[in-house]
């Protein structure tokens, strides 16, 4: 008869993650608040167009610039469109801009950075030069230049944001790849015949992800603010698409004449979203690396 000594199992996987998260959230209520907000934003992005009372594109000039009321919770804009519907529907586009930007910059910067750190030599030098060149630009003007040159579509705004943030991601990714270049699991992967790029993509990049995830949430906020700034200059998304940034930029001209709701509500939505992403970044950092809790 064999007695197998069992050691108490550590809870693995998802259960551990949830328990750890709950601990962090309890410790830091602000993070919890940020998570709740995030869920709300995602819900609004997914369900938005279905649940809003009015079509965000339908104009009704007889009802233009009416203050908030029971019919129009956030009032109407200069063409009589319902501001509440537009703000909620805009969540989807802004969320898309934020997520697409970070995914793109993670892939671009992350891959370039790990390649630079892993291979060293010329790859390192080239990526470094590219990153330094981008960083030497005044970043908003670079984004403006890219959108002005390529056209003001959502794709180009996302691309501009990604390019402008590229150096930061490349730098972090490169540092990590440098460290892990000689790690055991990388050696093992190489020995089992994996091509270099597979190692990069499937072994190293996933390890870089936790470091970048904090930066990514900050970049999400930055992406939305960038789109708003571009709209103020006239390089934002095309009308009549509802997007917080362009609604704030257009609504800004009505502040002095007293129709504050035109800019205030999209501005508040924008602020809440960016605020949420920023705080989320802090919370994620706490979750992932207790040493770096700040």
């Amino acid at each position: 008869m064999t007695v197998i000594a069992t050691t108490p199992q550590r809870e693995g996987g998802l259960a551990a993650l949830i328990k750890h998260s709950r601990y962090i959230i309890a410790e830091n209520p602000v993070t919890g608040f940020a998570f709740a907000l995030f869920v709300l934003i995602v819900l609004a992005a997914i369900l938005g167009p279905e649940i809003v009372p009015y079509n965000p594109l339908t104009s009704d000039t007889a009802q233009a610039l009416k203050p908030p009321s029971a019919h129009h919770w956030f009032g109407t804009d200069q063409l009589g469109r319902d501001v509440f519907s537009r703000v909620v529907v805009a969540t989807r586009l802004d969320f898309f801009i934020a997520v697409a930007s970070v995914v793109l910059v993670f892939l671009m910067g992350g891959l370039a950075g790990v390649a630079a750190g892993f291979f060293g030599g010329w790859t390192d030098r080239i990526v470094g030069r590219v990153a330094d060149t981008i960083m030497a630009f005044p970043l908003f003007v670079l984004a403006m230049g890219i959108v002005a040159a390529l056209g003001n579509t959502v794709q180009n705004i996302v691309l501009a944001t990604a390019i402008v943030n590229f150096p930061l991601y490349a730098r972090i990714a490169r540092a990590e790849a440098n460290i892990r270049r000689d790690a055991g699991f990388v050696e093992a992967a190489r020995l089992s015949g994996n091509a270099d790029w597979r190692i990069l993509a499937f072994q190293i990049l996933p390890n870089v992800f936790p470091l970048l995830v904090v930066q990514m949430s900050l970049t999400m906020g930055y992406a939305i603010l960038n789109a708003a700034g571009l709209s103020f200059i006239g390089l934002g998304v095309r009308p009549p698409t509802p997007e917080w940034g362009i609604m704030v930029a257009e609504g800004a001209q009505f502040i002095v004449s007293g129709e504050w709701w035109n800019a205030a509500f999209p501005g508040a939505a924008l602020m809440v979203a960016v605020f949420c992403f920023n705080l989320l970044g802090d919370g994620l950092r706490d979750m992932i690396d207790p040493r770096r809790r700040t």
Binding site: R129, A136, V141, G229, I233, A263, M271
Partner: protein, 337 residues
């Protein structure tokens, strides 16, 4: 030290070259035909061609780039189409305007954010800590132009506390003689206190706008750095020796925590130089930001190229300065380098 500076400067040259090339290509990729713009609203296609030849735009890109580099070497940044002035003279007059505003904004930000960060670090995870974090994050969560417009609306339009957003100095004041281009400094040098006050009043709102926007990174870095230092051995020793709390925090801890804060300041400054463009538009500030934006929208190459190059050089110089400062503050860095 000198070798370090030279080495760093040398490493920055390729970036500058890259910046020149990318800007050149980017401005050429802008929509809009300067020849058509220049030729005016009634030009026939032949007239436009004539203007194109006169502007040298019919040559190949390589030839144009060559001409541009040669001009650069002579200090000739070209002429702006929209203002008709040489770019160099406009950059010289406008750069101090932006720099003064950005520096003052940074100052405002430091005055508010650093004490906040220190306070938050001394009481981590308390209500004050959360409140500080929320307050500073709110500042950076609004688009900077929106903050500016709201400040103008509240403090000028409604309350009348702030002066009219008409630029650097009231219309009926003559600007001080241009020693540095910084109105605050120049008016003090020339002994004109009234001018100093007038310039300061115009600076308050835009500097506040910029400052609000940069609170978060500075506060965050101060807090993080202070936290790290406050848990270090020498601080524990200081506390154990019975030194007053104030002495411990300010005299010992803060000085040591300053380094990462200074790096952040550098990053924030260059970030603000970019965010400047929007603030300058709101406050009718005659700086290089508004200059570059108008030129960009009019597909006016020369000012955009001049602006980007100037900013890139300033960025490199700033990083160099920070590295030097680092060495001054922390001898360990110097010795290691």
């Amino acid at each position: 030290m000198l070798t370090m500076i030279l080495k760093r400067a040398g490493m920055a040259i390729p970036s500058l070259i890259g910046v020149v090339i990318v800007t050149f290509l980017l401005t050429r990729a802008l929509p809009g035909d300067p020849a058509a713009y220049f030729a005016g609203p009634a030009a026939t296609p032949q007239a436009i061609e004539q203007v194109r030849v006169k502007l040298g735009l019919d040559k190949s890109l390589i030839a144009q780039f060559g001409n541009y580099v040669v001009d650069l070497a002579h200090g000739n940044f070209g002429t702006s189409l929209t203002t008709g002035q040489p770019v160099v003279s406009e950059l010289i007059t406008r750069l101090p305007a932006s720099a003064e505003l950005t520096l003052l904004g940074l100052l405002v930000s430091i005055i508010i954010a650093v004490p906040l960060g220190i306070l938050a670090a001394t009481k981590p995870n308390s209500l004050i800590d959360h409140a500080c974090r929320i307050a500073t994050t709110l500042g950076v969560s609004l688009p900077v132009f929106f903050t500016g417009l709201i400040l103008v609306y509240v403090f000028y339009y409604q309350l009348g506390w702030a002066p009219a957003p008409l630029g650097r100095i009231d219309v009926f004041f003559d600007p001080p003689p241009a020693y540095t281009g910084f109105y605050l400094i120049d008016s003090l040098i020339a002994g004109q206190p009234e001018t100093f006050m007038a310039a300061l009043k115009q600076l308050i709102l835009p500097a506040l706008t910029l400052g609000i926007f940069s609170l978060a990174p500075i506060a965050r870095m101060t807090r993080a750095s202070m936290l790290a230092v406050l848990s270090s051995d020498f601080v524990r020793t200081a506390r154990a020796s019975g030194l007053a709390s104030y002495t411990v925090i300010v005299t010992y801890a803060f000085r040591n925590a300053m380094l990462p804060v200074i790096t952040t300041l550098g990053m924030v400054f260059s970030f603000l130089l970019g965010a400047n463009v929007l603030v300058e538009k709101v406050f009718a500030w005659p700086g290089i930001g508004s200059y570059a934006v108008e030129a960009l929208l009019a597909s006016d190459f020369a000012p955009v190229q001049g602006f980007v190059l100037t900013m890139a050089v300033m960025y490199v110089a700033l990083n160099l300065l920070i590295d030097v400062l680092y060495g001054v503050i922390d001898p360990r860095v110097r010795l290691e380098a």
